[in-house]
Amino acid sequence: MAEAPMDRRHFIKLTAITGTSAALTACGNPENQIIRFIPEDDLVPGVATWKPSICPLCNAGCGVIARVMEGDAEVFRNGQPGVIRMGLAKKLEGNPDDPISQGKLCVRGQAAIQITYHPDRLDQPKKRSGERGSGQFTDVTWDEAIKELTAQLDALANAGDQKSLAFLTRPRAARRLDLIARLLQEYGAPAPVAHEMFSDEVLRRANAISFGSHQLPTFDLENTRYLLVFGADFLGTWNATVAHSAAYGRMRQRAGAARAKFVYVDSRLTQTGANADEFIACRPGTEGLLASAITAEVGRIRKTGTSAAVDLPAMIAATGVAADKVTRIAQEFADNLPAVAMIGGTALAHTNGLASALAVNELNRVAGSVNQPGGVSFVSQSPRVATRHLNELLQGDAPKVLLIDDSNPVFASPASMKVADALKRTPFIVSFGSFIDETSALADLILPDHSFLESWVASAPESGSAKAAPSSFGPVMRPLYDTRSTPDVLLAAFRGLAKPAAGLPNSFEEFLNQEPASQLPSPRPQASGSRAQAPSPRPQAPSLEPQFAGDATQYPYHLIPHASAAFYDGSLAHLPWLQELPDPMTSAMWGSWIEINERKAEELGIHQGDVIEVTSTQGSLRVPAFLSPGIAPDVIAIPVGQGHTNFTRYATNRGVNPIAILAPATVGDTGQLAWAATRVKIARVGDPDKSLILFGGATRERPEWAHGRGDEH
């Protein structure tokens, strides 16, 4: 070998040796100094096991399985950092035995593994040490932290002011919320406040009125022959996307005439719309009118409609859809039973959202699709926990103690709602978040939760499967850091009160195992203003006329701040895999963009990547333009999710947050935010600033300034 001629490999090696021998001496090998802890579990090295859990990222409640193998993990043990060999979750997949996920998982679920190993994850309890919002925290022990929380709760109880305790969380059909509601009820505090940007409360309310079921519907896509969808991105971001996708796949694989037709109605072509056989663009907020017109036609054809007189031509004219198209769709719908109509997403986020949902429910009723194969049905469920609306927290007296679990209302509510100001008026805030975000940065005490893989999880999905599928699972792996499961922390704090409630379980595990979901006494606090479980039917139908915030002449464009395929409502922007994920429709990544109709853009002299200023009555933001043929000329769309001001190294100060400039319009009769009801004006304010990054192939990203402008790099 020594006699071998100099080849390329050896040449590079020799060059490298001479060039870097000095550098070598500088670079030490500090691995040997790491403290290694004794392993806590018995593992067969190199052999993987799969353990079940539940994806926590949205309300669908997909069952997952985690591949667990031994590995060296950087952990905290007894307050000391070090390395331990332990079973680590390495990959998530759908659980084949789960009726919701059916062995599949969406892209967000796949990225959920990064929550556990995130470099900015909080590893122990923190107490605020600087000014509120300054982001200065000091480490405290769990004993100190829980003692402080208990002392605050005791102080309220001693003053007889239990009503001043508030709990802010995400609306979920989960046992965790059951436990929270029970603890609050026994303490004497009002019901938990539930907040979520893309809440489906409007649809639940409509279903309660139409069908007496205050919950999301389950669609039998597999057996339907005609699917008519109004604004619901059911394959991308809306409701149980994995269950929908699996059933949709089976629906589309039927051959020949049995293959169902899928028609999608929206003012913007979404990922779901791109899959449709036919895309129908309607004016924003007129989905309900269109549904009513189709209902009248279907009722006429099937002779099942109500005799209520409708001004059909006027309704059709308002939608912007050609009249013959409406009658054709109605004819197809009536001819291809079982047919089903679905509404969600943007269509429910106008001021007439409730009326639109009722109109679609009526279409399903007229078509005879309710509780029928190939139609829409409701899974039997234990009653949902009564929750309050965020507005109840903002209006009236600020709570004295506020506990926040898995909710970031400072980011996910319009600036005009002044959530941050309300939080600043609250004397004591406790966050259970695993990360510093815009809301937990205002907390006085942060008690970081385990990741879902480290704790007991339970879910009772409200839709997605024809049969109820409640499930609970134990931890997949041991905790990495000095964190604690939030339900257990709450139990410890409430059990430690001077006058604790009787009969509280010792742990969340005990709570899950002792009381099966079906036997749970439904906690229904009688707090004033609580939403009723199943509201009584309304005497008269709400108006189908949409209202918009902002004068049409001054603010000519409708702003649609849609759920992002990667970040959903922005709560996932901290996961780098999702930042790196090209948007399915635009291929944009690592930033925000504004979708503008390409002909309109030409008219306005706007090119791809140009910086656009978007102004509403509430404020303005600057964002690069993405020209699209799939959006109406008077509509612009900005994905929600980016624009965080304080949310880990990956999301902070990246892109813009369109929620901030939304007007505080509400969906009539529900109090929910009508997030698609804001009008804006746009102006080109600058040349491309390289902030629009489009996926340029498997190995590189291409800044948009080099795209289609003749200055290819």
């Binding site: 590079i12 090696k13 060059t15 490298a16 060039g19 870097t20 550098a23 070598l24 670079c27 030490g28 090998n29 500090p30 691995e31 040997n32 100094q33 790491i34 403290i35 290694r36 802890f37 004794i38 392993p39 593992l43 067969v44 090295p45 190199g46 052999v47 950087e74 043990r77 007894n78 950092p81 070090g82 390395v83 331990i84 060999r85 470099p119 900015d120 190294r649």
Partner: protein
């Protein structure tokens, strides 16, 4: 090497900068970013294809003494019959015997103390493959085929601290597979 050289200059996001005044990394691991290596030195050694024969261990564990007392390889290197990898024993494994045997020896006292503090021995692996080789080795089928441990790991009864006594290059594997009429398909090992 070029990549590794540049890598020494680059830092992964959020890592402290390299220098005397820089805060130490949160975990004490190397703040130097190299392509998939924890340190520059490791990247360099692996690039040069150098497997050290002697590997430093926390203390001079004697295989010879333990085997002469009748211990079996699989007593400490568990998992070798069930899975791809032979386990390196944790301190708990040592203490199964040493809570009773030779408890007065200074070294044993030392590891007893370590166990009380929850701290493990930081063994270093002697035999491994570089990731670039794309080789996967599974112990269990070899044990089932009655290949002696010593075939690949040398006679440990003659060794104190384990040395890399056998150079396991591809020829070594292929020859044995030929002799035993095991598959020599590429995908048997490279997958």
């Amino acid at each position: 090497m070029l990549a590794a050289t540049i890598g020494c200059e680059l830092r992964s996001p959020g890592q402290p900068t390299w220098g005397a005044d820089a805060a130490p990394s949160r975990w004490g691991t190397s703040p130097v970013f190299t392509t998939a290596r924890s340190s520059f030195g490791q990247a360099f050694r692996e690039f040069m294809g150098s497997h050290p024969t002697e590997v430093a261990q926390p203390f001079d564990f004697s295989h010879q003494i333990h085997l002469s007392k009748g211990a079996q390889c699989t007593d400490c290197h568990t998992g070798v019959e069930q899975g791809p990898r032979a386990g390196l024993p944790s301190i708990n494994t040592c203490m199964i015997c040493h809570s009773q045997i030779a408890t007065e020896r200074p070294l044993i006292k030392q590891i007893t103390d370590m166990q009380a503090k929850g701290i493990d021995l930081n063994w270093n692996r002697v035999y491994n493959y570089f990731p670039e080789s794309h080789v996967r080795f599974d112990h269990a089928p070899h044990i089932r085929a009655k290949v002696e441990c010593s075939t690949c790991h040398g006679n440990q009864a003659e060794q104190t601290v384990a040395r890399r006594a056998v150079n396991m290059d591809m020829a070594f594997c292929v020859n044995c597979h030929k002799q035993k009429q095991a598959s020599n398909d590429c995908l048997t090992c490279h997958y």
